[in-house]
Symmetry: C2
């Protein structure tokens, strides 16, 4: 056997490529979601998260550099599926009262995917002794959790307004 | 116009169909993941979650009944993408030390997707006045969160054992 058995370093790199691809797709999807959002707060939330996403991609560039690899994405079917579901909602529910709740739900599915990926990557970075990478991944993890909480709040605000 | 504008009831039903399809796919994937798992604890966790998933599908059947609709799934590209990523990990990292961490990561991505879906569905059920449906969805949400916590613990145990 001339090939070496794969290890956690390889898995870390593969997963890093997966989220790198995902973030770039999310960066393209967010302006479309912002444009469709009916409430100003939701549009603002998507615009703010687009800016955050740019910073998150820069952090991933730094992580690739820290482990001595070129930043490269790898097609992530999961994120493509989630973003397609978001597109379907925009088509099916455009102009209805269900559009904003649907957009929030689609965005929260994406946020949760990212929370699981960054949580995993941070843990592996720690295990592999990449302390600075772990710190960068943790900073993004905190932002994704904040975004998810904000989206939950926007969903509840709407409900409370309706009930009032 | 003879067609009525779509509303939150339609969005609730669409999303219910999405998670119904997802749960059935997860039910098929879990035994394969259990078979591949290297540690006994991880295998046990997947087997236990398979049993839980059967109960979760039954709860979804009840929710469909409560809203007067026939239980039907709708292809969910997101879950297919996540389960494909799990398959790739089993192929690429089979027999290596990275297999179990990879399986845990794949399973946690799925759990987080489900947490976002059930959180959303529970909120909408409450808003639509489906109190019993909201209770059933909340019971499953709690189980998904427990499973995610258990998987995080298994991932950390492994790390701690290695470090010892």
């Amino acid at each position: 056997m001339t090939t070496q058995a794969k290890d956690l370093n390889d898995l870390f790199l593969e997963t890093l490529k997966d989220i790198y691809f995902a973030e770039k797709q999310i960066l393209k999807a967010l302006p479309k979601m912002a444009k469709k959002a009916q409430s100003d707060e939701l549009r603002q939330a998507f615009e703010t998260h687009r800016e955050q996403t740019e910073g998150q991609i820069e952090r991933l560039d730094q992580v690739f550099e820290l482990i001595g690899k070129a930043p490269r994405g790898k097609t992530c079917d999961a994120i493509m599926g989630m973003l397609n579901e978001g597109k379907e909602i925009m088509e099916e529910f455009g102009g209805t009262e269900a559009l904003d709740p649907g957009l929030i739900a689609a965005a929260q599915a994406v946020e949760h995917y990212e929370i699981s990926r960054y949580g995993t990557l941070k843990k592996w970075a720690q295990e592999l002794g990449h302390r600075e990478a772990a710190r960068l991944l943790d900073a993004t993890l905190a932002e994704e959790k904040q975004t998810d909480t904000l989206l939950s709040k926007l969903a509840s605000n709407k409900i409370n307004l309706k009930a009032a």
